[in-house]
């Protein structure tokens, strides 16, 4: 399946996660904080889910919190970092808008530019960093799949003992955690889990305080849905089992797209390079093509693709990600492959694409 949308659509739940979700909703849930036997049962299952998620993410149970509103995790993680507001806030130019928007709450903010492949300017980051800085960097970008060199970034940040927030919503588990980080953000959708569950992680020993109003010590509003949390844990367990094989297969399909498009279509801007891009995402911009017409032409053929071009995003402004990378913002389409994509779908897409592009260019 080829998908589209903000998180490039929500992929179907893993069948096992779906079963857990349906059973859990049928059963109904007691409040896990109450001492009734049903409450204790809910608590036990939740503890199990938490342990499973932590283990799958390579984190300690005490380091993670589940959130029912995943979009809030990065802003809250940054907001709660020591000194946020007065301390320098540093972020990459291709971060998600929720993160870039945090600059309005900081007295000094710095945007770090990226190169044509989407990698942040490490030298500029190093020069900008101060001991009390708060740095927000994504492991990978959802629009282009461009991955950051987190090992090098973490090295620069740890040298100043600054706060490092990593937004892993696009990569999910498809990245290597650097040895130094402070806060992390995952979204269950990235491993085919349900929407509405996110994971906030606070590294053992890192300083952070909950900026939301609270009276008891807590790091999460704990307002997430228990059935969704159980399904998220199951989806992650199942995702990890097949991950290596799936990634390798998707990577080879994406490479096939990259090479075929390069060979058959002139004047195309392909984001990033094969080495530092997620295995499931490719972003293509065709010169002198209207993405609105391109998306519509592909829709007719049964392909649902997303676009970062202004005319499709129903705003006047083109994608800030393409712009920051210096890539063509019009004629853009991005493909995000799910595990269940068939080789035949790609063959069909590649057979159609050159004809569609040349027809649109004639208009």
């Amino acid at each position: 399946m080829i998908t589209a949308g903000k998180y490039e659509g929500q992929h179907p739940l893993h069948p096992k996660a779906r079963q857990i979700l349906l059973d859990a909703f049928d059963q109904g849930w007691a409040d896990p904080t109450q001492i009734s036997s049903q409450g204790r049962q809910a608590q036990a299952l939740l503890t199990q889910a938490r342990e499973s998620i932590a283990k799958s993410l390579g984190l300690k149970v005490a380091e993670i919190e589940l959130w029912g509103e995943p979009e809030l995790i990065s802003p809250i993680a940054i907001w709660g970092a020591p000194g946020f507001g007065t301390a320098p806030f540093i972020y990459g130019a291709t971060e998600r808008s929720e993160i870039i928007g945090m600059r309005a709450k900081s007295k000094q903010s710095f945007e770090i530019s990226v190169d044509l492949d989407g990698a942040i300017d490490l030298e500029l980051l190093t020069q900008t960093l101060q001991p009390n800085s708060i740095v927000a960097i994504q492991s990978a970008n959802i629009e282009t799949g461009a991955m950051q060199d987190l090992k090098a970034i973490a090295k620069a940040v740890v040298a100043q003992n600054a706060h490092l927030h990593i937004d892993a919503t696009a990569s999910g588990v498809r990245f290597v955690k650097p040895s130094y980080w402070s806060t992390l953000h995952f979204d269950a959708r990235s491993w085919n889990g349900p929407a509405g569950v996110g994971v906030f992680a606070l590294k053992n020993g890192a300083r952070w305080s909950n900026p939301l109003p609270h009276t008891k010590p807590t790091r999460s509003p704990n307002s997430f849905s228990i059935p969704l949390a159980l399904a998220a844990a199951s989806a992650l367990e199942n995702w990890i089992i097949d991950e290596a094989g799936n990634s390798a297969r998707l990577k080879s399909l994406i490479e096939r797209i990259r090479n075929h498009v390069k060979q058959t279509i002139a004047d195309v801007d392909i984001a990033g390079n094969a080495q530092s891009t997620l295995p499931n995402i490719i972003s293509l911009s065709f010169l002198n093509v209207s993405s609105e017409q391109l998306v519509a032409a592909l829709e007719v053929e049964g392909f649902s693709v997303a676009s970062g071009s202004a005319c499709v995003a129903s705003s006047l402004e083109p994608s800030h990600v393409l712009k920051a990378m210096g890539l063509l913002t019009h004629g853009n389409m991005r493909i995000n492959l799910n595990h269940d994509v068939q080789d035949g779908e790609i063959t069909k897409l590649l057979a159609l694409l050159p004809g569609i592009i040349s027809k649109l260019r004639e208009n």
Partner: protein, 70 residues
Amino acid sequence: MATELDCRGKRCPLPIIELSKKIKESELGQQVLLLSDDPATAADLSAWARMTGNEFKEISADNFLITKSS
């Protein structure tokens, strides 16, 4: 003397498409003054110049001077 191409009020990708046509008809070294108020034009011009080997300069807001260089 640069030829003027007024694309004000036209949305992306029209300014770049019209510019591409104009440049195709132009001689090497010839200049085009593109007037465009679409927010995507500045970003797209730099990508367009990189991809096609032509040169451009933003001379004032919404005014771009393009030189056919390849």
